[in-house]
């Protein structure tokens, strides 16, 4: 009896054993506040107790369950000696580079921005120097989309991450860059980025996730928290380019306050199986969240995207557009829900998932949903899957463009609607180049 419960317990934690957790805690700097360590302990207990997703879980519908493993991963200990060359060539206001969860290098803010109170630093540093802000916002929104176990794992094993604070009224013109690399064949990483945008501030954050080698069977459980105060405008661009053998969980939370707007664009290219959860909470009138995603899925990859737009106040707006291009035997899942609370009248919510099927073997699943408790709202949602129009393909071929290049061009045409939502041309171009690398492989 006890032997069997012990073996279940082992399966529930895989490589992330109590011993590994104790070693992780011991490796953290002693300066970290006690409440944070206590939270991590509680998170580990929760992680160890929660079951793995089951086939019958509604929030894991269509997901491949048998490939979700916690075994065979290692927690990196040694500091990295080098990281790959960053593929995104745009000018940045500041940059943080993490390798295996630890700060590898950074390019500081200009003296002028630093003097105006802008903060771009590590979470470990912020936990000490900006304790109140971190405590208020770090992982403050409970996971609602099915990945409670992986979110708890993230919190328990989170080593370090990025902390960005833009004070009231400040505009940071150039994007702030955060790069997270996983290096090593079986490495597990837990990247985190926390952004607190003060009232009427403006900033753009570009986040990149990449591996040392494309063959590394890594594990990532990442999260971010975006908090946009009254009147703030925040643009977030996330580029997931993990190794094609990696297993990735990412849980993003966005809180939008009065008259604030957050635009997020997640580009998904890497991992063998990538679960991405995006939660947007529109908490006060005038709040607007634009949720965008582009995915290039190819043979051997599964992209599982779950979204939740919660309208908690009247006169709030959300606009979601997720586009997937599927090649070979790729599989995608989109499950989106719009929730309108009873007093969130005049909500304007939109949700659209579009899939471009570049092969007959690919599989795209869509589960759009609405849950409306107010009576004066405008909510639309829809999902489409379509193949490339053979007449379009012939048109391109009749100009000398071979089928593979024609498909690539048509995919970019399909993505353009999303890329055009970005106001910065250099970002638009940098993303094009990054997405192109996937077609060149």
């Amino acid at each position: 009896m006890s032997a069997s419960s012990l073996s279940v317990a082992t399966n529930l934690v895989g490589s992330f054993t109590a011993e590994a957790f104790a070693a992780h805690l011991a490796s953290l700097p002693p300066s970290l506040p006690a409440w944070w360590i206590a939270r991590k302990r509680a998170a580990y207990e929760k992680f160890a107790a929660l079951p793995l997703p089951a086939r019958t879980d509604e929030s894991w519908r269509f997901s491949s369950i048998s490939t979700l493993t916690l075994d065979g991963f290692t927690l990196p200990s040694a500091a990295a000696t080098q990281v790959p060359h960053a593929p995104i060539g745009i000018k940045k206001a500041a940059k943080l580079v993490f390798a295996n969860g630890r700060l590898f290098s950074h390019e500081p803010l200009s003296a002028e921005l630093a003097a105006r109170g802008v903060i771009v630093t590590t979470l470990q540093d912020a936990l000490v120097k900006h304790e109140a802000l971190v405590r208020e916002h770090l992982l403050a929104q409970p996971p609602k989309l099915g990945s409670a176990k992986f979110s708890a794992l993230h919190e328990a094993f989170l080593v370090d991450g990025a902390f960005i604070h833009i004070p009231r009224g400040i505009t940071v013109e150039q994007p702030i860059g955060v790069f997270s690399y996983a290096l090593g064949a079986t490495t597990a990483v837990f990247p985190h980025t926390l952004v607190v945008a003060g009232e009427n501030s403006r900033a753009t954050l570009v986040e990149y996730f990449g591996s040392g080698q494309d063959t590394e069977a890594q594990f990532a459980a990442g999260a971010n928290d975006l908090y946009a105060s009254h009147g703030a405008h925040l643009t977030y661009i996330g580029k997931q380019d993990w190794s094609h053998r990696a297993l990735s969980f990412q849980s993003n939370s966005t809180v939008v306050r009065r008259d604030a707007r957050v635009q997020s664009l997640n580009v998904h290219l890497g991992a063998r199986q990538a679960r991405h959860e995006s939660l947007s909470q529109l908490q006060a009138p005038g709040a607007f969240s634009e949720m965008l995603a582009l995915t290039v899925a190819e043979s051997g990859q599964e992209f599982d995207q779950r979204t939740l737009q919660i309208h908690q106040a009247p006169n709030t707006k959300s606009d979601l557009l997720y586009k997937n291009a599927l090649r070979g035997t790729a599989k995608t899942i989109f499950s989106g829900l719009i929730v309108v609370d009873p007093d969130a009248q005049k909500t304007d919510a939109y949700q659209s998932n579009r899939n471009l099927m570049l092969s007959d073997e690919a599989e795209a699943n869509s589960l759009p949903g609405l849950e409306i408790q107010a009576n004066d709202v405008r909510c639309t949602h829809g999902a489409t899957s379509s193949r490339i129009d053979p007449e379009q393909e012939f048109y391109l071929q009749a100009r000398g463009i071979a089928k593979a290049a024609a498909d690539e061009l048509l995919t970019f045409g399909f993505f353009e609607e999303v890329l055009n939502r970005l106001s910065a041309d250099d970002l638009h171009e940098a993303l094009r180049v990054l997405i192109q690398t996937k077609f060149k492989k």
Partner: protein, 253 residues
């Protein structure tokens, strides 16, 4: 000087024979017009030569400069020098004309060779100026929401940039008002040279007032039934296609 030879070509679509033994040779510098009533196989002929997958060539031969193109894919035929100006050009949302043409020219380079961007734009703008096309055109998505005239002008611009050996122009005049027709015809006329052979497919004689052909062929029921010079087009215009049909019926009787 290049040459396209069509020899006793038979083309079927879904097992129905549409082109029933057509022969024609177009030499560089020549403009051939094919006229004929609707449903006689004119468009099928051009699409089959360009390599549309829905059309099956059941027998016959198409040679470009003595080399058969029938085993080649559509994109290979295009790179070999065949250009089809579509009657109904596809709309390609999200792909700008500049990127589209760049991809088409890139496809003509050897592996690993990159197109020279500044040289490309210089050439593109020169061609646009020649064809009196606004430069803003290049950032618009290919044919997306274009008027009939804009679509045809876009075809002509592509033809000017890709410099084919043979252009197959399928009902280029359809859907054009007289001003658009004149612009398109001017474009083709500026490109006329000993390097380019043109096959103009048209239902009406009107286009031939602007692009004066060297030869006119009448196509009926999948074959060329009458050939002549430009005066044949005028005769057709005056007498109508029934004249041809009667003549054929008499010949049979």
């Amino acid at each position: 000087m290049s040459q396209l030879e069509i020899k006793n070509l038979h083309v079927s679509i879904a097992d129905k024979e549409i082109v029933k033994g057509l022969s024609l040779t177009i030499k560089g510098g020549e403009v051939h017009a094919i006229m004929g009533p609707n449903g006689t196989g004119k468009s099928t002929l051009s699409k089959a030569i360009a390599g549309h997958p829905d059309y099956t060539i059941t027998s016959g031969e198409v040679l470009l400069d003595g080399v058969s193109i029938l085993e080649k894919e559509a994109d290979e035929r295009a790179r070999a020098g065949i250009f089809l100006a579509f009657q109904y050009p596809s709309e390609i949302p999200g792909v700008s004309i500049a990127n589209f043409l760049r991809a088409a020219l890139q496809a003509r380079l050897a592996d690993g060779e990159e197109i020279d961007a500044s040289g490309y734009y210089k050439r593109l703008y020169a061609k646009m100026d020649l064809l009196k096309i606004d430069r803003k055109f290049t950032s618009r998505a290919v044919n997306d929401g274009f008027s009939g005239g804009e679509k045809k002008r876009c075809e002509i611009l592509q033809m000017a940039m890709l410099e084919p050996k043979v252009a197959l122009m399928d009902e280029t005049d359809s859907g054009l008002d007289i001003d658009a027709l004149r612009i398109v015809a001017d474009g083709v006329n500026t490109m006329r040279s000993p390097e380019l052979g043109v096959l103009l497919i048209t239902h009406y004689q009107r286009l031939l007032d602007y692009i004066v052909p060297d030869y006119v062929h009448v196509m009926y029921d999948g074959r060329i039934v009458k050939s002549g010079d430009k005066t044949l087009a005028h005769e057709l215009e005056a007498k109508g296609y029934d004249w041809i049909k009667k003549e054929l019926a008499n010949a049979k009787a």
